[in-house]
Symmetry: none
Subunit: 412 residues, 2 copies
């Protein structure tokens, strides 16, 4: 079984957007043990899409198309496939109901072209869209499996994970079960991690081990294949144990989690509350906490103390501290963490102050960051980081380190 | 003249990396007025690359390949093209010298496979690599232009900009100048915007009009072609005027800007300062302001008032307001905006309170959002939104609406 991914949209060919859909689907198919030999991107042009389909049919069993399911005249994927396969389009009542509901909820007027989104290829298994209007679909015709997914990643990714993967698995009638598990590490570089498990990587066969570094984190994807699910599971467990014996101190979670997610879980389990004081991160830490549903139970709130004025007025940092040590200092970080904790009567206070860049501050180089952690009834600690020169990277790495340091402290 | 971009690398097909090269090159070619009809991604496999080349030759005049120029056994792009075109590979002395120099400078030992990188296709124009070892090249064979570029974006992008673009322009012998302009809209859906300019879209030829919707915004890319640059410019201006006559109220900026960027520009120009009180957005508005360098000059700071306690203690919202109207109310939003402005002595106070989801709050449905705007010396205003059911979307759309409403108010 091998697959080709055809992504449709002139915006790809104009370079307006990057093709994250091809990456996402490829990763998912790799997990399922399906080889991908080609990606094709084509514009909103029915003739060129038809030509791409004909080429794909010669070289792949599974053809996954994304994009072109929307309401506008440009969106022609279903229509083109309908003509190509000689299959009519029929309205899907469930999809139509949910489109109508969307317009009612948002109090907007539904236009005629929105109705177009409810049409699906006759005989296809419809994939519900929980984050938008256009449904997806999958069908087998002449030994080829065709899967149609919407273009916006926010709709496509959850659709594929929730409904698409299983539907595809059923249509392929595969015998081997393939399972995978991602181990996530923070605080260790990719090269060092690979060196520590070099013999395991070199000797890999089942499970396979795929390392990947991004955004200051390293992940290892383990994939095992066996017709007994339990055996595949045991193979994964065994390899995981071997890896964690070597680099377990840097391990923080499985699969699609994040440092913040693990931190929020830990704070919830311990029944604690947190308050935050952010300077260089400008609200990013709190924004990430609150992106997790139910954060209201642990986050009391916080202060974005971007100016000295805000540090003094809202956070009650002593003027003397700022005058003597500066805002980019251990002392200021400690006071910020302690004061925000006390002001909001929280169990945990965390603070971020530093130099994001591009300019230096108080003579301290770009990348200097202090993270303060105040726990009720415990001495306050401050960590110092020397990050790089890129402003965005410095900000989001500070947030990650904040999660990491706080988790380490809470574990003790 | 039309082009196809072939990106080579198994890591693309495994979903380990996203194909930013295809995006970058497409954008550059769009600027040059060269149409791109297809992107193809293929693995490190000479047979499948050869097949992709044969297909590309049938449908494109210009074939741009990236990746597979490195020193390892996997890197076979030059070798495959050499066999396919029956053109021998010869050592490029300049490239070889710079590879040797690189190893001397970094005090590392040069291995034999590094020499492989200095080979180029005979008769090609060599493109220097200022950020790595593998040179690029361009050559015309049988009416096709082939351009080979390295895979790592840090090498490929500067090579294309510094040497590749001009070399390609020379080989195409193009006469027409092509320019494009992106118009950005907020507060109107894609379907409605298209309906309002349907006749212009249907009648488009020069300039062309390409609509694109993402993250609650809609953009129109206008592209004009003419051998006189000034005439092309005039064609763009004329079409822009026609479009803005119809939907100008939703227009907010050109090309690679964002709502927040335009807002920060406007606040800077007016020499004002801002303070923020965020509930459902949890710091996202401030995080976005501070992602723009130099935000310290306009953002005084703010409060993330995620709990009622934080609203009362830090923001001094009256207990009575919360008891009588609730936190998801016009009254609470108004007080939040006014109080944060006064507390930080800023010119502008902005507040966000609402129901992000997934749970309802105070009996108000998910997606209910109030945005308060307090300007020094002016009456406070509050806007009510009915957004959708997705938590993430509700949060970032609230931030965008906040920018939009504030800009509208500042314009008056």
């Amino acid at each position: 079984m091998n697959a080709e991914i055809i992504t449709i949209g002139s915006e790809l060919l104009l370079g307006q957007i990057v093709n994250t859909n091809a990456r996402f689907i490829s990763e998912q198919l790799a997990d399922m043990g399906i080889n991908v030999y080609y990606h094709t991107a084509v514009g909103d042009n029915p003739n060129r899409l038809k030509a791409a389909l004909e080429i794909a049919e010669k070289r792949a069993n599974i053809i996954i198309l994304t994009g072109g399911l929307g309401p506008t005249k440009d969106d022609l994927t279903k229509e083109t496939l309908s003509l190509h396969l000689n299959r009519e389009l029929v309205i899907d009542e469930n999809a139509f109901r949910s489109i109508k509901l969307y317009f009612e909820t948002t109090k907007r007027k539904m236009t005629e072209n929105n109705r177009k989104q409810a049409y699906t290829l006759k005989g296809s298994h419809v994939l519900r869209n929980d984050h938008g209007m256009a449904p997806g679909m999958i069908l087998t015709v002449n030994k080829h499996i065709y899967m149609l997914l919407p273009g916006p990643p926010k709709e496509m990714e959850p659709m594929f994970l929730t409904y698409g993967k299983e539907a595809l698995f059923n249509q392929t009638k595969a015998k081997d079960k393939i399972i995978s598990r991602v181990l996530r590490f923070f605080g260790i570089g990719e090269a060092l991690l690979e060196t520590k498990i070099e013999d395991l990587i070199d000797g890999q066969s089942n499970p396979t081990i795929a390392p990947l570094a991004s955004d200051g984190e390293v992940t290892l994807r383990l994939t095992a294949k066996h017709h007994h699910l339990q055996t595949a599971q045991a193979l994964l467990n065994e390899m995981e144990t071997k890896i964690l014996e070597r680099v377990g101190t840097y391990f923080y979670g499985y699969d699609e989690t994040s440092l913040m997610n693990e931190l929020v879980k830990m704070i919830k389990e311990k029944n604690l509350t947190i308050a935050c004081a952010e300077s260089l991160t400008g609200g990013m830490f709190q924004q990430e906490i609150t992106s997790i549903p139910g954060a209201g139970n642990i986050l009391k709130g916080g202060i974005v103390s971007y100016t000295n004025e805000a540090k003094e007025k809202l956070l009650q940092v002593k003027k003397q501290t700022i005058d003597v040590y500066g805002v980019v200092s251990e002392q200021c970080a400690a006071e910020m963490a302690e004061n925000v904790r006390t002001l909001l009567n929280a169990d945990i206070g965390i603070s971020f102050t530093g130099v994001a860049g591009p300019d230096t501050l108080e003579g301290k180089p770009v990348g200097t960051v202090f993270i303060g952690i105040a726990l009720k009834g415990k001495p306050t600690s401050v960590e110092l980081l020397h990050l790089g020169v890129n402003r965005d990277t410095n900000r989001f790495r500070s947030v990650k380190y904040g999660c990491y340091f706080l988790m380490e402290k809470l574990k003790k």
